[in-house]
């Protein structure tokens, strides 16, 4: 089973929920012997700050980019003409590759008359995996200055696709665009974490629209319950979305999380609440 934790708005508590859920379910059933938490927020990966695993495996995350064999290149410009991303250009009588813009589609390779283009790997990030407190954690880290998060997310997912532990929890980046879609692809259920504020509601609407378009069942978790109004609740009711859990607005929780403690360390009763929530999702 794959459960993705997402939100439209940032900072609503996705990582708090993903970490809490993974820790609560670890070992609770035979098939959840060792849940896998995939931190897919490769721009701002934070789950490890709470789990403090030892990363045992590290591999680079490369993308394929063209390399021009200048000996063979006849500077016909066909590669630049087929590239939809302006990653190749003819400048000053030679073909120049702009690797940051390349989407690795391979069209330039196929359209080079003298077959002067090959593909070489270019590292844009790192994948790491380790263990902590009965769960496996794997994360992707986009290199600073790189623009494309999606390839790192897709490689992270492929790297750990065959997780023997049975349960995978994916911690998504904020927003509703391509990195989130990449994270949610193939998920059996999406938990949308929101807060009961006008911003939370505004962005929840967009997130719901996105998950509906992806045709994945979903439920809502209201974090910082009590900080705002009832509008999120009313929206969920009207849209037929189950509110699966409420995490209260509580200074002690906020201070604990600020110092890198998990929700379960501050409020152990959430272990049972997460387990009951999971039973409800399965039903």
């Amino acid at each position: 089973m794959r459960i993705a934790v997402a939100s439209g708005k940032g900072g609503t508590g996705k990582t708090t929920v993903a970490v809490g859920l993974a820790l609560s379910l670890a070992g609770s059933r035979k098939e959840w012997e060792r849940p896998l938490l995939l931190d897919c927020d490769v721009e701002a990966p934070d789950a490890h700050l709470f789990l403090r695993p030892e990363f045992e495996e590290t591999v680079p995350a490369p993308v394929q980019v063209p390399r021009i064999d200048m000996e063979r290149c006849i500077v016909c410009g066909d590669c630049a003409a087929v590239c939809r991303f302006n990653a190749l250009a003819v400048l000053g009588g030679q073909v120049v590759v702009l690797p940051e813009l390349c989407h690795s589609c391979g069209s330039c390779v196929h359209h080079c008359p003298p077959r002067a283009i090959t593909e070489i790997p270019r590292t844009i990030g790192t994948l790491e995996a380790g263990r902590s407190n009965g769960i496996s954690l794997a994360r992707g880290i986009l290199n600073v200055g790189e623009a494309m998060a999606v390839p790192v997310i897709s490689q992270l997912k492929r790297w750990k696709e065959n997780h023997p532990g049975g349960l995978t929890i994916l911690d998504a980046p904020p927003g509703t665009s391509c990195p989130v879609v990449e994270t949610l692809g193939g998920a059996d259920y999406v938990l949308l974490v929101t807060e009961p504020t006008p911003f939370g509601l505004h962005d929840l609407r967009l997130a719901v629209e996105m998950v509906r378009e992806m045709k994945i069942p979903m439920g809502v978790i209201i974090n910082r319950d009590g900080i705002g109004d009832e509008a999120v609740e009313a929206f969920c009711e009207a849209e037929g979305l189950p509110v699966l859990l409420r995490i209260p607005f509580d200074r002690e929780i906020a201070e604990g999380l600020a110092r890198g403690r998990t929700l379960l360390e501050v409020r152990p009763e959430f272990r049972d609440m997460f387990r009951r929530m999971m039973e409800r999702i399965e039903a």
Binding site: D46, C105, L142, L206, A258
Partner: protein
């Protein structure tokens, strides 16, 4: 004309609350009359909820193209699927090849390979962008349709438009509310700016993501300033941030205390400085603007501030790659 971009790395640290307060302060500062505001968080554009925007113009945003297979002339040879590297072409149960638009990257590899020319690349309406009159001046904002690509391209488009209009009106400042993260939308928001203000919070995650955001800004050779939101919820955490900023030579120009008037102001749809001007957060935010106004008023000062402090720091700014 100056351009100030508010970023954060981690989401939810208070970028929009800070930007809205700055917009309010800018509008009441004579030296910055006629400034233009931009909401560059096109996935979750919330600024208009706080600055009171009346829409004047709506424009369609065309994202990347998407492949479309004409099943009439398609021979069902499967070459398109073979050449697609994004698993965007599926064989449907009724025996046809179909494009899964959400997976399609718009690279046109299939279009180039199709032997019967049965594939067309069609434009995709990925969102809209708007020009609005806010209570604090012109607002440029956008909405990416959920589950779309190209948020970076939409950010770039909105910013170009904002700059064009700012130039026309001889605006002194373009104030940009940026997206979270450090990849294409954040880079697009930063591109062409003079100065980044990174809003962080004193949490382990806030510090971690602040570092990445600040390294990203440095990577593009722009100066950063830092503002610590909810600074008093974890004083040791705030001290760690201050220490890190000292090492990196990044000035901390704002410390906003936790104040319940911030969520209350957002719920009312008002900037904190307008809702409760003399509250703790309201005062801290108007001080932040005074500080920023000083820095923006003299471009050389901004640069020298950054160069000078980098020069003094023990650690050189890391340039990745």
């Amino acid at each position: 004309m100056k351009e100030l971009v508010v970023l954060s790395g981690k989401g939810g640290t208070g970028k929009t609350a800070v930007t809205a307060a700055l917009a309010h302060q800018v509008a009441s500062d004579e030296a910055f009359a006629g400034s233009v505001i931009v909401d560059a968080d096109v996935d979750a554009a919330n600024l208009e909820l706080v600055v009171g925007a009346a829409r004047m113009e709506t424009h369609e945003f065309q994202g990347s193209e998407v492949a479309f297979i004409d099943t009439e002339s398609c021979l069902v040879c499967g070459i398109c699927q073979e050449f697609c590297r994004f698993e965007a072409i599926a064989f449907s149960p009724d025996g046809r090849f179909q494009v899964e638009p959400m997976a399609c990257e718009g690279c046109a590899a299939c279009f180039y390979q199709c032997p019967t020319e049965s594939i067309r690349m069609i434009p995709r309406m990925a969102g809209q962008w708007f020009v609005s009159e806010s209570r604090f001046g012109l607002l440029l904002h956008a909405r990416l349709r959920p589950a779309q690509e190209n948020s970076g391209k939409l950010v770039a488009q909105v910013k170009d438009e904002a700059r064009r209009r700012a130039k026309e009106c001889e605006s002194p400042l373009v104030l940009v509310d940026g997206p979270p993260g450090i990849a294409c939308p954040a880079i697009a928001a930063l591109s062409g700016a003079d100065l980044a203000l990174i809003v962080t919070e004193p949490t382990v995650a806030g510090l971690h993501d602040l570092q990445r955001a600040e390294e990203m800004v440095t990577h593009f050779q722009l100066p950063s300033l830092v503002c610590i939101n909810k600074a008093d919820i974890n004083p040791e955490g705030a001290e760690q941030i201050e220490a890190r900023c000292r090492t990196r030579g990044v000035p901390v120009v704002g410390r906003i205390p936790f104040d319940s008037s911030v969520p209350a102001a957002m719920a009312e749809g008002k900037p904190v400085t307008e809702y409760h001007r003399d509250g703790d957060a309201g005062r801290a935010l108007s001080n932040l603007w005074r500080h920023l106004a000083d820095i923006l008023a003299n471009g050389r000062e901004t640069r020298s501030l950054a160069t000078l402090s980098f020069g003094n720091s023990k650690e050189e700014p890391t340039v990745v790659r």
